[in-house]
């Protein structure tokens, strides 16, 4: 049991015809990509832009994204800001506590690779991908709300290409 266990977690550019995309796939992917509940979790300056994105002007809810306070009910974690070494273990724990399938958006330079702090920041984790697998990197410091939305759309594309079927070579 657990059909979705086979869900590939890495993006692979499938060549067309390589894979049987069933309509079930489509339905499941569609549901996942259109209802990404985000874990309400902010770290630093980028979190403010994330809040602005969720606010009326940009409205994350349009994409079906609502913040959930508990990781148990969220699908996507937006790492919005500087991950410090003190925080890193917690971020990892929170990520771990999310149920599969789950996605990670790295928002802003800091979580991409330490950003402005990459050089002298003795206490800054240089990129959140050192602890958890990141799906989409959104550049910017902070990224504009639109950039976050674009990243989300990017992530949706990635989800769209996922499949539960085995690859047929």
């Amino acid at each position: 049991m657990g059909i979705l266990n086979k869900l590939d977690s890495k993006v692979e550019q499938f060549e067309s015809g390589n894979i049987i995309i069933t309509s079930a796939d489509k339905l499941l992917n569609w549901a996942r990509l259109s209802s990404m509940w985000q874990m309400s979790f902010g770290l630093a300056c980028c979190a403010i832009e994330m809040m602005a994105t969720a606010a009326s002007h940009y409205d994350l809810d349009r994409f079906g994204i609502i913040p959930r306070p508990s990781p148990r009910q969220s699908d996507v974690i937006i790492i919005s800001g500087t991950v410090t070494l003190k925080m890193a273990t917690r971020v990892k724990k929170l990520y771990d506590q999310m149920p599969d399938p789950k996605y990670v958006l790295s928002m802003g330079s800091c979580s991409n690779c330490g950003g402005p702090y990459w050089e002298h920041g003795y206490h800054v984790l240089k990129g959140v991908d050192r602890i958890i697998p990141v799906d989409v990197y959104i550049p910017g410091c902070p990224p504009r709300p639109e950039a976050l939305l674009e990243g989300l759309i990017h992530l949706q594309e990635k989800i769209r290409s996922q499949s539960i079927a085995k690859k047929v070579s």
Binding site: M1, G2, N5, R90, K93, Q97, D100, P101
Partner: protein, 136 residues
């Protein structure tokens, strides 16, 4: 009457069956990748300190207690309300006595403050010594 309750039973069975069906069906689909971290208790990203044992307030109990007394009272009130129109004044007086006795109890617990939840008891911080008074 029995058939009506039978209907209620059917409602219950359908509800249970529905939940069971949905949960089982989802079990077929969802991925299972448990790990130690994933199964650990959520506490804002921290490890839990101590037991999940809350020092519960007695208020919880007192509320339940008072509720149950009122519950019983309500159980009496319903048949009373149904026959109220037919019985008229007698019913009213009898119930009034009944209620007033209980309301007395209610007022007692109310006055004693048993019903109030824990109010915040703010401790206003103080300095050991007055050192500043020009602004007042």
């Amino acid at each position: 009457m029995l058939s009506d309750f039978g209907q209620v039973l059917v409602f219950m069975i359908i509800a249970v069956a529905f939940v069971a069906f949905v949960l089982l069906a989802s079990k077929v689909f969802y991925p299972k990748r448990p790990s130690k971290e994933k199964l650990s208790t959520y506490e804002c990203g921290e490890n839990t300190i101590g037991e999940t044992w809350l020092k519960f307030n007695v208020r919880f109990y007192v509320v339940a207690l008072i509720f149950i007394v009122f519950d019983v009272e309500i159980v009496f009130l319903f048949p009373w309300a149904v026959v109220f129109r037919e019985m008229g004044m007698i019913a009213f007086v009898e119930m009034a006595i009944f209620l007033i006795i209980l309301i007395f109890g209610f007022i007692y617990v109310l006055a004693k403050g048993d019903l109030y939840w824990d109010k915040p008891k703010p401790v206003i911080p103080k300095l050991e010594r007055e050192i500043f008074n020009s602004q007042k």
